[in-house]
């Protein structure tokens, strides 16, 4: 990864957000290559631990993207995920991580452009924050302390 680009992981649910990311490709939209998608069956599968682990492992930003509200293919998965994201967001400052580095989005599978936009915006947002590197060891112990 180039050094100046923030590293971002996007947890996407199979049915909507992942499909939206595919559509972004079909429409040949552009977004920075530092955004990497991990596919989940549903954001309901997103363990809060993954979010912390992502930061521990070196993520500069984390995107969680599920279906629109009311459209989760497993009824309530995206609502659960949203809650977990909010909880982790509230914990992040204690680890010295800005909560803005983590965000939850609702997407429909037709929103290819929205996916690309989110990827761009998160990259910009994180660039505007002061870099996180160099404190890796600290943040690690921080996570373990939780």
């Amino acid at each position: 990864m180039t050094n100046d680009e923030p590293k971002i992981v996007a947890f996407c649910c199979h049915y909507c957000a992942f499909a939206a990311a595919d559509l972004a490709g079909v429409l040949r939209l552009k977004y920075p290559p530092n955004v990497h998608i991990i596919r989940l069956p549903c954001t309901g599968k997103l363990d809060a631990l993954y979010l912390l682990k992502a930061f521990e492992a070196g993520a500069d930003g984390v995107i969680v993207a599920g279906c629109l509200e009311g459209s989760c293919h497993f009824i309530s998965g995206n609502l659960r995920a949203k809650k977990r994201v909010l909880v982790v967001k509230s914990l992040l400052p204690r680890l010295g991580i800005e909560p803005e580095r983590l965000e939850f989005f609702n997407l429909s599978s037709a929103q290819g452009d929205r996916f690309a936009q989110i990827a761009r915006e998160m990259t910009e947002r994180i660039k505007s924050l002061s870099p996180m590197r160099g404190e890796e060891s600290e943040s690690k112990s921080g996570v373990d302390a939780l």
Binding site: M1, T2, K7, V9, H14, Y15, C16, F18, A19, A21, D22, L23, A24, G25, V26, L27, R28, L29, K30, Y31, P33, N34, H36, I37, I38, R39, L40, P41, C42, G44, K45, D47, A48, L49, Y50, K53, A54, A57, G58, A59, C67, L68, G70, S71, H73, F74, I75, S76, G77, R80, A81, R84, S108, S109, A110, Q111, G112, D113, R114, A116
Partner: protein
């Protein structure tokens, strides 16, 4: 009847209705030819942005269905095809098909778009059918991004080669797959099928014909379907609402209702969906752009379906949508601004003019021109409106035996009703072809699975996808890199991983190199993962030992401007995929035997129909009714003939067991294997069954106030109906003679009279002046529209007039819900002199008595005046309420009820007769109020869906499901609470356990489990975390220095599931 020979079915029309029917049939043992006129299936639903009333994304719902039907081993999709003729008899038809050339070999095309890019037409030039003329396409095009089949098509009408013969044919050269083929010609061929389902859909009414609104002349006048494309994120404006004239964002948008509908000059009937689709469009437009001020001009606001009223309320209150009750007389364009001036009469009657930036015409649903032609070729009759003629008592049966009709071809209807009818038609076919079920379908044989020895031996296949990936990503270096990753014993580049020759090659490599994990780095797993999984299964691997890495849609296509970065990213993605592959475990799929019997709860109309349909399909069915009698909900005169037939059919059916005076005491188990205890005065009985259908009905509410119960001259519509003689019925539910067959057993229903003259009230005693009051007691507590009352009132009013034309009838209403063809009744009533007075929700009419004279006071919302009527009779429409028994059923079955006591289906659009819990289905008025034909269709549909489970004999359970580690479980019950499907139970050890058959694999429980005792197969924590770690591993760390792979883990390979 001739012999039933072919276990195959032709479904004509590839819209949502056709797709649903095809899937239902293919899943229950029939081979399906899905015949589509156009180059791709998907129909009108594919063009929608959102769907009412939940505003769910249409494509999100449809796309998985498209993929499913596209990959189904027992469905053959035939595009660009039309039916020439149909010979033969039910069970043994010969259908001749004409297929136009596509000029593209779909087995070679990979939808990369190079042919399109290279076309001599530099610009997209021709109006795109999919974008309803708003977008443009080239002569060679892909119908839409999610199209199935996903392949290009050449349109000979616009292609230069066909027009002039002089074209460099760049496309031919550009195609790396040699998929283009200009030598293709039209084909004629014959299909042998046992039955036909016809689902050609509708045509939106041509707005040009409504000249006063200027569509086609004024740039900023659009139709509803066009506006839908503007709203769509993948539409011509990428979801931005922009004016066609100048590309500016409009502020004031006017929506005009009933364009071409409810109009004697155009279509007489109501198109049934426009009020709601406009409300949805207004809300979505507002959500896209807050500046927008939507105004809806309407005549009657028909929000009559489940959840519709709520959407309208939200539109008004939360989104500030302005509703104006007025018929717009004219739209004119202001030449300078291209704004539009709308002239209308407001409610007080004064003429108004208002300027708008954009006008959207809510065009109605017209009969499909292609459908009409098709009807001629199939030899089926149309009704007076040009839609397929059906029997009211079998709403999916055409006038030709063995040919069934469904969806908007039978009349205007929305998506759920279309899906219901599709399932109903499939059920009817199943009953007809039951003897030949399974004779044309094939199941694939796979070799026995190798037991992996634990150490990962991973093969990585990196796809070029022609130049789609290789043109951006240095795929060679990605494959080289893959070779260096731990666990990888083979990595290679492939030109097209999905090609037949490579699939063969892949199997050979798996055997030769003894691979036990496969990673494919190519396109999205959403389309092809199933294909590769199938391939490795053919090579003897468990299909879950597969991981797919998306380096096309999510890499080369989005980073084509940064090839180096894209290559680096592809490497990281492959590294992640390999890391996950190292951790993959084989998952087992188990077969569970299905008890081939059904339990139907509720012995009303719906229960009887559902039970008979299942019985006719050959399944033993228990029909359970709490009261002493079946069919007690069938009260009105015009269904007495039907009732008698049904009772007879149920009584003699060899597969049916009727349990009256019976309740369910206990029900346990899961799909395929339920066990229930039935309690009756005779004692208790335990039965085993594979499915449950909840078929309880809704009943007329008992009104309070309005002197009801105090004065005998105040009665309800149902009571009036009983008092009216049946001969005079205006034919609301009349039956076209020969076609009326509910089941194989039931004889054609002639409309004979069985109705008693209720209450001994003869027609003479009903009086001269009659007031009907609609929406009685429809208040906060019962805010929903009961859907059927207006039509009932109209029907009764017409009967009263037929008996005595001198009668004066007043109908006091809030909105006249005469949707669809009921509009004819409304018109006839108005023409017959019935006076319609609209009142506001806030000021309902008052009934009182003065010296024994009934007085009805109503404030006319239109005239804004108080009127007093002195009737001889007052008839109330109190609406319907669901069966109170539902609460108990809801508890027993653990299925949800809404706040009004109606059952909640799994998905309002696509699974309207399923509960979210597998194996439990619903129909009847307790799901939602409906007319007799609507209830019949729903009951047939529920039976059809249930038959899919029963017809299988075996169900597969397992695969990607969650399982609990009993060592770690602390029985905190979190999973039990959070599982949306009720799949978790507490076992004998007092620990959580997951019912494999019920688990849908969402992983909510796994993520929520505080003890981390639950893992979801294929998405285990170790697998996900391995990906995360690899993603962020600094590049400089020498890979060889990595710790050896953690596999094998405990009892790898033997780990049973479920």
């Amino acid at each position: 009847m001739s012999e039933i020979k072919h276990g195959s079915v032709a479904v004509v029309g590839g819209g949502i209705g056709g797709i649903q029917a095809a899937l239902d049939l293919a899943d229950s043992g029939f081979y399906v030819y899905l015949i589509e006129e156009g180059p791709a299936i998907g129909g009108r639903m594919a063009q929608l942005d959102k769907t009412f009333p939940t505003n769910d994304c249409a494509m999100c719902m449809l796309s998985p269905k498209l993929v499913e039907v596209g990959r189904h081993p027992n469905v053959q999709i035939i595009t660009l095809a039309s039916v020439e003729s149909l010979e033969g008899r039910p069970g043994n038809f010969q259908m001749t098909i004409r297929q136009r050339p596509r000029y593209v070999d779909i087995t070679r095309c990979i939808a990369c778009g190079r042919c399109i890019a290279s076309c001599v037409y530099q610009d997209t030039k021709f109006p795109s059918e999919f974008e309803v003329g708003l977008g443009k396409r080239k002569p060679v095009y892909i119908p839409f991004p999610q199209a199935v089949p996903l392949a290009a098509v050449v349109d000979p009408q616009t292609c230069i080669f066909f027009k002039s013969g002089r074209c460099p044919q760049n496309c031919l050269k550009a195609c790396e797959r040699g998929a283009l083929d200009f030598t293709q010609t039209e084909k004629l061929f014959m299909l042998e099928v046992g039955a036909v389902i016809v689902a050609p859909g509708f045509d939106p009414y041509d707005a040009r014909r409504v000249g006063e609104y200027g569509f086609g002349r004024y740039a900023n006048v659009l139709t509803g379907p066009q506006f839908e494309r503007l709203l769509s994120a993948s539409g011509p404006t990428s979801g931005k609402v922009l004016r066609p004239s100048d590309g500016k964002a409009p502020k004031k948008i006017a929506f005009i209702q009933c364009v071409g509908s409810r109009d004697l000059r155009h279509q007489r009937y109501c198109s049934a969906v426009c009020c709601m689709y406009t409300t949805k469009e207004a809300i979505v437009a507002k959500e896209h752009d807050h500046q927008i001020e939507p105004t809806i001009f309407y005549i009657d606001l028909r929000a009559y379906g489940k959840g519709f009223e709520n959407l309208v309320k939200r539109a008004r209150a939360e989104h500030g949508v302005r509703y104006i009750r007025s018929m717009v007389s004219q739209v004119t364009e202001i030449p300078e601004t291209k704004n539009l001036l709308i002239r209308y009469r407001d409610e007080s009657g004064s003429l108004q003019e208002e300027e708008f930036d954009l006008v959207v015409l809510a065009v109605g649903m017209g009969p499909s021109a292609k459908g009409q032609e098709l009807a001629r070729r199939l030899g089926i009759e149309l009704n007076e409106h040009g839609f397929a003629k059906t029997s009211a008592f079998n709403p999916v049966m055409s006038t030709r035996e063995g040919v069934f009709v469904t969806g908007a071809f039978t009349g205007p209807k929305d998506i759920p009703e279309t899906v219901v009818q599709a399932s109903a038609a499939a059920a009817a076919v199943e009953a007809l072809l039951a003897p030949v079920r399974g004779t044309r379908t094939h199941a694939k044989d796979y070799p026995e699975e190798l037991v992996p020895d634990g150490t990962p031996r991973i093969g990585v296949f990196v796809c070029h996808c022609g130049s789609n990936i290789a043109g951006v990503v240095d795929v060679k270096s990605v494959a080289e890199y893959a070779k260096t990753l731990p666990g990888v014993v083979h990595a290679e580049n492939v030109l097209y991983t999905c090609s037949q020759d490579n699939l063969k090659h892949m199997k050979e490599v798996i055997r030769e190199k003894r691979l036990n994990r496969v990673v494919v780095a190519s396109c999205t797993p959403r389309n092809l993962a199933a294909l590769f999984q199938d391939t490795i299964r053919e090579a003897g691997l468990n299909k879950f030992l597969f991981e797919m890495v998306n380096i096309r849609e999510q890499c080369s296509w989005v980073h084509s401007d940064q090839p180096e970065q894209a290559t680096e990213k592809a490497k990281r993605l492959v590294r992640m995929g390999v890391a996950k592959a190292r951790e993959l475990k084989p998952l087992s799929v188990q077969s569970v035997r299905v008890s081939p019997a059904a339990l139907v709860l509720g012995g009303g109309l719906s229960g009887m129909i559902a039970a008979l349909t299942l019985g006719d399909s050959g399944f033993e069915t228990h029909l359970v009714e709490r009261s002493a009698e079946l069919g007690s909900d069938l009260e009105s005169a015009d269904v007495q003939g039907l009732k008698a037939k049904l009772l007879d059919a149920v009584r003699v059916h060899p597969k049916l067991r009727v349990h009256t005076n019976t309740t369910v005491r206990e029900i346990s188990g899961f799909v395929g294997n339920f066990s229930s205890v039935l309690r009756s005065p005779q004692g208790e009985e335990r039965i085993q069954h594979g499915v449950v259908i909840v078929a309880t009905e809704a009943y007329e509410h008992k009104p309070s106030g309005y002197l009801y119960g105090e004065d005998a001259r105040v009665l309800t519509q149902r009571a009036l109906e009983k008092a009216l003689t049946p001969q005079a019925s205006p034919g609301l539910f009349t039956v076209p003679p020969a076609a009326a067959r509910c089941t194989v057993q039931a004889e054609p229903a002639e409309d004979e009279a069985h109705a008693p003259r209720a209450q001994g009230r003869g027609e003479g005693q009903l009086g001269k002046t009659i007031v009907m009051i609609q929406c009685v007691g429809r208040t906060e507590r019962r805010p929903y529209c009961s859907r059927i009352c207006c039509a009932e009132a109209l029907k009764n009013a017409l009967t009263l007039l037929e008996q005595d034309p001198d009668r004066q009838i007043y109908v006091l209403y809030r909105e006249m819900i005469s949707y669809g063809f009921f509009e004819d009744l409304y018109r006839r009533a108005r023409d017959g002199g019935v006076v319609f007075i609209r009142y506001d929700e806030q000021s309902p009419p008052v009934v009182c008595k003065e010296n024994d004279q009934l007085l009805v006071t109503v404030r006319d919302a239109h005239l804004r005046q108080e009127l007093v009527i002195k009737p001889d009779l007052v008839v109330l429409s109190p609406g319907v309420v669901p069966d109170p028994y539902n609460e108990e059923l809801s508890r027993l079955l653990k299925v949800p009820l809404d706040s009004h006591g109606f059952f909640v289906e799994a998905h309002i659009k696509l699974r309207p007769v399923d509960f979210a819990s597998h194996g439990i289905f619903l129909c009847g008025g307790s799901h939602a109020p409906g007319t007799v034909p609507e209830l019949i269709a729903k009951a047939q549909a529920a039976a059809g869906r249930a038959a899919i489970v029963l017809s299988r004999g075996q169900l597969e359970a397992g695969g990607i499901i969650a399982s609990v580690d009993p060592e770690k479980c602390t029985a905190c019950l979190t999973c039990l609470r959070e599982c949306p499907f009720g799949a978790v139970f507490i076992n004998e050890q007092g620990l959580a356990e997951i019912e494999a058959v019920k688990c849908q694999g969402c992983g909510i429980c796994a993520a929520d489990c505080p003890a981390k005792a639950i893992q979801l197969g294929q998405f285990e924590d170790a697998q996900e975390l391995a990906m995360l770690e690899e993603l962020f591993r600094p590049e400089q760390v020498a890979l060889k220095a990595l710790t050896p792979s953690p596999l094998p883990r405990r009892g790898e390979g033997e780990r049973g599931r479920g």
